[in-house]
């Protein structure tokens, strides 16, 4: 599942609209990518027994095809859009529950931006954003690992990826260098390269979720602030 680096999330969303096999494929890909942040968000709102059900329901709604109508790149960050959709889904779901309890039945509502979700009742956005950031990082790490694996450097990746956080301490190079059969300076060069590549991947990934007018650096700073 190597996505084309040229394709943005928004184009994936656009492609996912409609009822073609290609659209379904794109949609399922979207779901796979964003399952985790949606689940995390819903978990902090719903009880443990309904979290997964609700998450499935949300993606089912999306897979049903019509929820993404009106979503377009001009709407800005895909993250904000998806969060809005989840919030909307949850509010609507709550309202539906209430109605069911009262025995009445109201017609199904379209997801529209104008319908403001009841923010006070919902968990903070930070929950979602943090899970989003983790998803992003995890995806970037997986992509990086895959790349390294393909160029036969999986051991290098295994040993050096802790350095991506800067968590490795002074002098740790010596042990790793010995393990990898490299010089200490060589390890430094490799670490630097790994970090560089990781940054490139992250930036590419983030860019996919933004419209052309949004600064990727600002998005990264926001994600850093919620972590």
């Amino acid at each position: 599942m190597t996505p084309s680096t040229r394709e943005t999330r928004w184009s994936l969303v656009t492609r996912a609209q409609g009822d073609t096999p290609a659209a379904h494929l794109a949609l399922s890909e979207l779901c796979e990518i964003y399952y985790a942040p949606v689940l995390a968000y819903i978990r902090s709102w719903a009880g443990p027994d309904e979290t997964e059900d609700l998450t499935h329901a949300f993606f089912e709604r999306i897979l049903a095809g019509d929820s993404l109508k009106g979503a377009s790149q001009q709407r800005g960050r895909f993250r904000s859009y998806l969060l809005g959709a989840v919030k909307h889904f949850l509010c609507e779901n709550r309202a539906k529950e209430h109605r069911l309890k009262r025995g009445s039945h109201l017609p199904h509502l379209e997801i529209k931006e104008e319908i403001a979700p009841d923010h006070a009742a919902l968990p903070p956005d930070a929950e979602f954003d943090r899970a989003w950031a983790c998803t992003l990082l995890d995806r970037a790490l997986r992509l990086l690992a895959e790349e390294m694996n393909q160029s036969g450097k999986d051991l290098l990746f295994q040993e050096l990826h802790p350095w991506l956080t800067g968590a490795a301490g002074y002098g740790d190079q010596t042990a790793v260098a010995e393990k990898l059969g490299l010089g200490e300076t060589s390890v430094r060069v490799q670490v630097h390269r790994l970090r560089k590549r990781f940054r490139e991947i992250i930036e590419a990934e983030v860019a996919q979720t933004l419209d052309s007018g949004t600064d990727p650096a600002a998005e990264l700073r926001h994600l850093l602030s919620v972590c």
């Binding site: 990082l137 800067g166 010089g183 300076t185 430094r188 630097h192 972590c227």
Partner: protein
């Protein structure tokens, strides 16, 4: 939610969320990306490709102040190169073009494995350099993954030295050495790049300083002071300074700004590198290394050399041991030297037995030690020993104690030492209530206490120094061994011997006890008092003698009868006085009147009273007896004297003997034989006991009484025995003092000599060694040998002796004896003697006269 504590990020310490990708902290992952500068954009690649169609531009790898560097493939030679292109905005400025050209010219001169190689230089379409592509990162990027270890720095820095030395030798100064301009690659190669600020020796005075951009040449933090102050006056030593800054940063991760610590102080890196780093960072360039090659050499020898000695080494020991056995939560043994790597504080040893820089425990040994028993430079404890020790019992150089201290300077209730200050103190200098000062007064209390407690404390002090010093130094040596510091190890091992070596002489020294000193002090005081008393007595006695002399002179006057009368009157009164000095003066004068015509009768009664006086000093009584027997004494007086033969002190027997002689008229064969024998016997027995003359006692006082007296064989026998003169192992007689006195004053001069005396005198005369005595022996026998048999024996002996002697006096006396005692029986011997060849005519004639008289 069963996890007791959620895992946290080792880097930022925040808890890791459950979603953390691969267990890595999302925050730290993102932070690394946000804080990194954005990579060069890729958007300009197209235009560059457009301009440089000869190259296959692959990617932008760096943007500098004046140029961009692209990784490119040179299709002509099919190699990857670095294409450095002057920025378009700079390319219109002739000054920048000049600088770019400068770099090209500089690099073109240089061909060194550690300097980036330039392949080509071109000006069209824009000024550009085609250089060797280094597949690596710059040192700044390499350091992002943490500071370099000393080992890594030691791989890189010598290469940089080589590169710089090479450049300098070729007249090129880099002037912008900084981590960004040093590349390292995966193969460990090192390359110096960016000679954009290079100065060529043949440039003359540099005429541009980049003033238009407001910046000085080079990056400020890495520039030598002289480069900042006067950029036109720099030489190769500015590069050395910059390299020093880079070196420092490699080791510490910090820049050497302001009053910076040495690298080893900053983060405990190898202290051997300090000197080299600091020398490169000297503010005055004259103090830096003369050239980069010297720096390299110094660095290599420092790195392979021994650790420098000094304070830092102590911390370098950095050794810790904690025994697994614990008592009350304290390890049985805890040894700790050096600093804690995390806190930077000196490690503390805490244990039942604690050894270290700072030690606390039951038995604590350290530079600073606290414990029940403590030993250290500064020690605190119940029993503490050290340079400065404080405790209940303190030992060492300076001791301050709640109970007692034994040290060079001791301050305590009970203080013993060289300088002691305390309630009870003893020492070379002692101050306090009860003191025992070696030179000064010694109190009995202090002497008693000091003798009781000072020796065990001294032993404890010496023992603690010996054991403490040895154990501590051995532990320190052990720590040094563990820290692989052989030199310090050897030093501490040697120091561990100081304890035993310094103690041995002290152990062998036997110090006098204070009690001995106290007794000496008392004895000296007693002697002084005695001497003073004696002196006072002597003074009085001198006045007494003076008085006696005056009376003697006056009493013997013939010209002034009145004065004589007066003196005698005074003497008479003095004899009757109760003042012993008056008695003595009168008696001295009286007994020395001799032949003076004085009527002694009026003195008789007073003298009798004096002799009989109870509790009278025997000195006066003796003189009184002598005086009495110069008067017309009576039989009753003699009876009194006979009664004193036993009761008189032996040293006062002289006057008794005198009295006996006066009474017996020199004949001790009759009634007076027994008392005289007793007087002699008492004197003889005392003489055998006395090893030295008692003051004022002299055996001659008694012996001289026998001079010319007649004695019994019993007395002769006593004298014979008394006159024994020591003999040596060959049987020859040696003149002894006592025997000689008896021989001289009695034996030789008694009037009637029996065979007992005769035999001894002949024996003495025959002895070759005592021939000086022989004359007196002969003289003493003249007319005093009554027995005819003895007389014949004497004559025969004299002949025998004279055969071998020529002494004049001996011959004179010998001839006299022969005249008296030779008989006809001696004629053959006499003739033989007369036939001696060497005989003088006079002697021969005397002999012949004797022979003629005897011959029928």
């Amino acid at each position: 939610m069963n996890d007791p504590s959620p895992p946290s990020c080792p880097s930022c310490g925040k808890p890791l969320p459950a979603e953390a990708p691969r267990g890595l902290c999302p925050r730290c992952l993102l932070e690394g990306i946000v804080s990194d500068p954005a990579p060069p954009g890729t958007d300009s690649l197209d235009s560059v490709r457009e301009q440089f169609r000869d190259f296959e531009i692959l990617e932008l790898v760096g943007i500098g102040g004046m140029a961009r560097v692209y990784k490119a493939r040179d299709p002509l030679v099919d190699r990857i190169v670095a294409l450095k292109i002057l920025s378009p905005e700079r390319a219109v400025d002739p000054e920048w073009i000049e600088r770019f050209t400068r770099e090209a010219r500089a690099l073109a001169r240089l061909n060194h494995p550690h300097i980036v190689q330039v392949h080509r230089f071109g000006t069209s379409p824009q000024p550009h350099l085609v250089m060797e592509y280094v597949d690596g990162v710059n040192l700044r990027q390499a350091m992002e993954a943490g500071g370099l270890s000393a080992r890594e720095a030691l791989v890189i820095v010598p290469k940089l030295c080589d590169a710089l030395h090479y450049a300098h030798e070729h007249g090129v100064l880099h002037r912008d050495i900084k981590p960004e301009n040093i590349l390292v690659d995966t193969e460990g190669r090192v390359k110096v790049v960016d000679f954009g600020l290079a100065k060529l020796r043949d440039d003359g005075v540099l005429h541009f300083t980049l003033t238009q951009s407001g910046a000085k040449l080079g990056t400020l933090a890495y520039m030598a002071p002289e480069q900042v102050e006067n950029p036109s006056d720099v030489d190769h030593r500015a590069d050395i300074y910059s390299l020093g800054v880079v070196f420092y940063e490699m080791l510490t991760g910090e820049l050497p700004l302001g009053r910076f610590p040495s690298p080893s102080e900053a983060n405990g890196t190898d202290p051997r590198l300090d000197a080299v780093v600091l020398r490169t960072l000297e503010k005055k360039r004259e103090k830096r290394f003369a050239d980069a090659e010297t720096m390299r050499t110094e660095l290599e020898s420092a790195a392979s050399g021994p650790l420098p000695t000094g304070k830092e080494n102590w911390n370098e020991l950095n050794y810790e041991y904690r025994s697994p056995i614990q008592i009350a939560g304290w390890p049985l043994l805890h040894v700790a030297f050096g600093k804690d790597e995390n806190t930077g504080k000196v490690k503390r040893a805490r244990g039942v037995v604690a050894v270290g820089s700072i030690a606390t425990g039951g038995l604590a040994m350290g530079v600073m030690a606290r414990g029940l028993v403590s030993f250290g430079v500064l020690s605190l404890g119940l029993i503490s020993s050290g340079v400065l020790s404080i405790g209940v019992v303190s030992l060492g150089v300076m001791g301050l104690a709640a109970w007692c201290a034994s040290s060079v300077i001791a301050v305590a209730p009970c203080a013993f030492g060289v300088n002691a200050l305390g309630w009870i103190s003893a020492g070379v200098k002692a101050f306090g209530k009860h003191t025992a000062d070696i030179d000064g007064p010694i109190s009995l209390t202090a002497a008693t206490v000091a003798d009781r407690w000072s020796p065990p404390l001294m032993s404890l002090q010496l023992g603690s120094i010996m054991i403490g010093m040895t154990v501590f130094m051995l532990c320190a040596a052990g720590a040094a061994w563990k820290a692989s510091n052989r030199r310090i190890f050897a030093l501490y091992l040697a120091l561990s011997l100081i304890g035993p070596v310094s103690i041995l002489p002290a152990v062998q020294t036997k110090l006098p006890t204070y009690m001995e000193l106290y007794r000496k002090q008392e004895a000296a005081a007693e002697q002084r008092a005695e001497e003073e008393q004696e002196a006072a007595k002597a003074k009085v006695r001198e006045q007494t003698y003076e008085l006696a002399r005056r009376w003697m002179a006056e009493a013997s006057r013939t010209d002034d009868a009145q004065a004589k009368e007066k003196a005698i009157d005074e003497m008479l009164k003095a004899v009757q006085s109760d003042d012993p000095e008056q008695n003595l003066a009168a008696l001295h004068a009286f007994t020395r009147l001799g032949e003076t015509r004085v009527d002694r009768t009026p003195f008789r009664e007073p003298l009798r009273r004096l002799v009989a006086k109870k509790d009278l000093d025997w000195e006066i009584r003796g003189w009184a007896i002598s005086g009495l027997f110069e008067t017309d004494f009576e039989a009753s007086d003699v009876q009194k004297i006979l009664g004193m033969v036993e009761s008189a002190p032996v040293e006062r027997l002289g006057p008794i003997a005198d009295a006996l002689k006066a009474a017996s008229k020199g004949d001790f064969t009759g009634d007076y034989a027994a008392p005289m024998f007793r007087v002699l016997q008492r004197t003889y027995m005392q003489d055998q006991k006395e090893t030295h003359l008692r003051s004022g006692w002299d055996t001659r006082d008694v012996l001289v009484v026998l001079w010319g007296s007649r004695v019994t064989p019993e007395i002769e026998k006593l004298l014979n025995e008394w006159s024994f003169l020591d003999s040596d192992e060959r049987g020859q007689i040696i003149t002894g003092r006592r025997g000689y006195t008896v021989f001289y004053f009695s034996l030789s001069v008694i009037r009637n000599k029996s065979s007992i005396s005769v035999n001894r005198l002949v024996e003495l005369a025959s002895n070759f060694d005592v021939r000086n005595i022989a004359g007196r022996c002969f003289w003493g026998m003249q007319g005093n040998v009554p027995d005819p048999g003895d007389q014949r024996f004497v004559a025969a002996s004299v002949i025998g002796i004279l055969k071998e002697r020529n002494d004049g006096y001996l011959w004179e006396q010998g001839l006299g004896l022969l005249e008296r005692y030779a008989t006809a029986d001696h004629l053959p011997a006499l003739r033989e003697l007369a036939a001696r060849e060497e005989l003088s005519d006079e002697r021969r004639k005397s002999l012949e006269q004797i022979i003629a008289r005897l011959a029928p």
